[in-house]
Symmetry: C2
Subunit: 409 residues, 2 copies
């Protein structure tokens, strides 16, 4: 019999009826003979409501107090689920993050888990109990409650799965898995049975909101097998796991688009050592998250540097860059918010050539102009006009035949 960690998010926990459905799911897993640790988020809109309440008394609440406040949301969830399981005749016990032995650092509202002592969980599992743990929280070195930041419940689940050497960590959510592309944009998008950690990371970092990057990194680091699945139906989800050779038969696993980007170009920068360092140091100091960076070959001692930033940070970027242009002896800077980033991702790229060529050809055949290109071992991203983003995603999805059932890997 296996040990499962099952994590349910707020949308699966909207009210008492949802709680009972989750309880049934957990109950059934336990009834099959498996050991179960459940990790819960706060119910429905609880966290938002608590934040609203706090803003009414203080526009900038202290972070330590914010954690004290928000941690109550998960505590309500775990107690209610334990009661719902008791009503079905199951043995279950709830625990706060601190009670579950989860220690964090002192970075309130965005703490990192530093250690897990799962002794109390193990003792209860050995008694046959379902153990229900508050996601998103732990105990700081000063014995305060610290939260892991939004989405931190996924991290709690993965970290507990690692500490308990669980067989699988199931992340229940309101989508039924990871898709080859966003199904709202690409009708032919297909649910993946399996995906490699690195592929999931590339997709997560591009705004596929199924799993937090942090929890995928954690799962990869500790070799925790994840499954993303829906809490509303009893169908298998997508398994996220270590890359195996078979996976390389699939060159491209998925296509992702990100329309919340802006492009900054600094023109005619003198091609001298230290210029890029100075530029990106200042941007980091201004808290601008730079994504793609492209620098063309130098022409007559000058070059253009382009980079992308999240669209809502473009004004911060502009303030910094406009000040730097004279200092860098550059000709000027342009800011373009009508762009989108479209990417293809797949670990198979490592062993297959010609992928970039097929991507550019498909876009070109559809008269979609590529303005920037950036590649990693398992990803190729291009910047195009945002008006063409949806079309480009469909074109690439077709070009790599992602809508067709692929060989199992």
């Amino acid at each position: 019999m296996a040990l499962y960690v099952q994590k349910f998010g707020g949308s699966s926990l909207a009210d008492a009826t949802c709680m009972q459905r989750v309880a049934q799911r957990v109950y059934d897993t336990r009834a099959e003979g498996h050991s179960v640790v459940v990790v819960l988020s706060a119910m429905g809109k609880t966290t938002d409501n608590l934040i609203n309440l706090s803003k009414q008394v203080n526009p900038q609440p202290d972070e330590r107090e914010m954690d004290m406040l928000l941690a109550t949301g998960e505590q309500v969830s775990v107690a209610i689920l334990a009661m719902a399981l008791h009503a079905m005749g199951a043995e279950a016990v709830s625990m706060t993050g601190p009670q579950a032995g989860i220690s964090t650092d002192s970075a309130h509202t965005k703490a990192k888990i530093t250690e897990i002592n799962p002794e109390r969980i193990v003792q209860n599992l050995e008694k046959g109990r379902i153990v229900i743990v508050c996601g998103f929280q732990g105990l700081s070195p000063s014995a305060d409650i610290a939260t892991l930041g939004r989405g931190g419940s996924d991290t709690t689940a993965v970290a507990l799965a690692a500490a308990l050497k669980a067989d699988r960590c199931q992340i229940f959510t309101d989508v039924d898995g990871v898709y080859t592309c966003d199904p709202r944009i690409v009708k032919a998008a297909r649910k993946l049975d399996i995906i490699a950690y690195d592929e999931m990371l590339e997709l997560a970092s591009m705004g596929a909101k199924v799993l937090q990057s942090r929890s995928v990194e954690f799962a990869k680091k500790y070799g925790v097998e994840l499954e993303v699945l829906t809490s509303f139906d009893r169908i298998p989800g997508t398994v996220v796991k270590e890359e195996v050779n078979d996976m390389e038969q699939i060159v491209v696993r998925g296509v992702a688009g990100d329309k919340n980007q802006a492009k900054v170009t600094i023109q005619q920068v003198p091609d001298q050592p230290g210029v890029a360092a100075k530029l990106f140091k200042e941007l980091a100091a201004a808290n601008v998250n730079v994504d793609m960076i492209v620098q063309n070959v130098s022409e007559r001692g000058h070059t253009d540097i382009s980079f992308t930033v999240p669209r809502d940070e473009v004004n911060r970027a502009r303030t910094t860059v406009d000040q730097l242009v004279p200092a860098l002896n550059a000709a000027g800077a342009t800011y373009d918010i009508d762009i989108a980033k479209v990417s293809i991702v797949g670990v198979g790229m490592r062993s297959h050539s010609g992928v970039a060529y097929r991507m550019f050809e498909a876009l070109s055949a559809n008269k979609i102009n590529v303005e920037m290109i950036s590649t990693s071992e398992i990803k190729i991203s291009v910047v195009i006009r945002s008006a063409y983003a949806d079309q480009a995603m469909n074109v690439l999805h077709d070009a790599f035949e992602l809508g067709q059932t692929q060989p199992a890997s």
Copy 2:
């Protein structure tokens, strides 16, 4: 400068605006140079709402899980008040019961405080901070959250005041003090400036809901000076403290009425040793709370035994008594729910004679028949027809001149 413990109940904490008013009150006390520890209940109807939620998933929730659930209510309150105080520029820190060093026994939902280690509170007071503690909760021996039962926040406040050797424990509520009688019934009722612990205990046990008996007992045991006052106005309340000689000038401090009583009479019980013991043992086993007990002198080897019980327990009492009547060789039993208990209370009775006489004469002059009498050192209670209860309270209030300003004591 003094150390105050200030406790605010749910009706003073209904919403963000109430929280800000409470924050202002606490802030002002601190600004006067005093040290302040605040104890809070859950906001408004939070506890009721959580109980309703729990009933939706389980009609009989586990008590350990109930405590896990309900403890969140106070945790929200303390975080919000800390934020509100920060917004005013005050230094403040919130603590859960366990963080404040409050240990309890394992009796979930009705735990008793076993120990307080106020080290963390003291450290924060020494830094000039206002310390805000969750009422109603502590840490059980198994490191679970245990609650003290409803009204337990008063007990938390008094226990903290005792542990910290506070100068005064102020209980803020929605009434402005303790009255000579219920002002809804006796128009002439007057707020008391001062009352002895024992008087308050007699009044509390008769349903004057201003303070829980348990917290008054605790205050008496540890000599904590209490003040009951309103959180809505800036006026002095009623101080509850150790009896001093001056207090004895006041023979009667107050009049109380209780209409939620029923009278049971067992007729013609053989006057033999062990009969009363058998009767009240069985009633206790049936969880019936017996209040007044009166047994008349024996006539020809038989006697009547009468006692009062809370009206909603009369059916349980009837089941037990009807079974016992044959075993006791009694003639029968009667059950009367149309009664009320009216009492006068005052530590001055100890040193003044003729109080009972004045009470009975006043009732008699108004044609109110006395059916049962029970006395303690500082209280005389009578059972009368419930229809006369309000009149009797007014008559006694007048007879003992409680509406007039009394000498300070």
